[in-house]
Assembly symmetry: C2
Homo-oligomer: 173 residues x 2
DNA sequence: TTTAAATTTCAGTAATTACTGAAATCGCGG
DNA sequence: CCGCGATTTCAGTAATTACTGAAATTTAAA
């Protein structure tokens, strides 16, 4: 796999963004590579193309699979794994948001619930602070619930909604 | 500033989430502390409460200010800076999203535009790959534009919309 | 000004996270 | 069940990022 300068630029940029998204550079680069690649690639091809260790590719692919962004295929008469990334950008976004919800939002909701429960028994924390925690919890739960609803909508509806932009306000009065 | 166990739990959890959000633990903890604190705090109080170096507090506060999440106030006859965090959770979310858009989305759009432009001149990158890059760009621009519209809506409208959940689909037909 | 508190900067170090390469394991074909 | 290619694991190390503490700078009161 020889990378064209254009593709290389994309992959490098993805790698640079990685830190801000809480994934390693390798994970981001491999994802970019597989997202752009016209055909599925073997782990060895990936390692060679990006010049990273084969084992690093293995671990990174596992992570990408845990996000449901990458899957394995096979070709007849070849027992190596071939990896491909989701190409549908809407689904890619959905997978990332689902993943982040699961890893960040849900545990945070749990912690806040614990804090609110603990607050009932706790007389040293000022009322105002307890309320702030409770408000935060309600807010996250509300946004979370909204996301679940949006998440379940058929894509054409979602697209229509998005294209309406702030005009939805008019319709709902 | 003595932390109650409940508050401490929140701050620690925030700190643990920090990595995933691409900020340092100190930044997240300081933000949590200021968000919950009933009154503005001095940098020294923060340093002492969280047991981190005073200089670390200084740098972290600068970062939080760059996100517009924290501001400085003063009390009469005291020349120290007092720091307070935004308490309105909607605004907090808006600041974080604005910040991430500015730091992650906008530069990515720029890179993708460059790639698409480069693609015109570039005959070695397969058409399919160029298209995927272009599609990605369009997608990000569309979502980005939608966000700007939503961002500008008055809060009550936004709240109403959110509470409708997937029922909006019915209204827009 | 001068002085001293408050804040910031930054070089050095600590802590964390990412990556490598060798060894272990897996799993299919013979 | 043996042998080999493919994959994974993991201990060690490299690279990165975060944090500290001392020194420099700023700020404002005297």
């Amino acid at each position: 796999m020889k990378l064209t300068p254009t593709v290389q630029r994309c992959i490098l940029h993805w790698g640079e963004m990685a830190g801000r998204w809480g994934v390693s550079r390798s994970v981001a680069q491999i994802h970019a590579l597989l997202f752009l690649a016209p055909q599925p690639l073997t782990a060895d091809e990936i390692a060679e193309t990006l010049t990273v260790a084969r084992s690093n590719v293995s671990v990174s692919l596992k992570e990408l699979q845990s996000w449901d962004l990458v899957s394995v295929t096979h070709v007849l008469g070849d027992r190596r794994d071939y990896f491909q990334a989701r190409k549908d950008i809407w689904e890619v976004l959905a997978m990332i948001m689902d993943g982040r919800k699961k890893r960040e939002i849900d545990p945070t909701v749990q912690t806040l619930r614990d804090c609110v429960a603990e607050g009932k028994r706790d007389h040293e924390t000022p009322q105002e602070v307890k309320e702030r925690i409770a408000t935060m919890l309600e807010f996250i739960e509300e946004v979370s619930g909204w996301y679940e609803q949006i998440r379940g909508m058929p894509r054409p509806t979602l697209l229509k909604l998005m294209r309406m932009g702030s005009k939805v306000a008019k319709v709902i009065g």
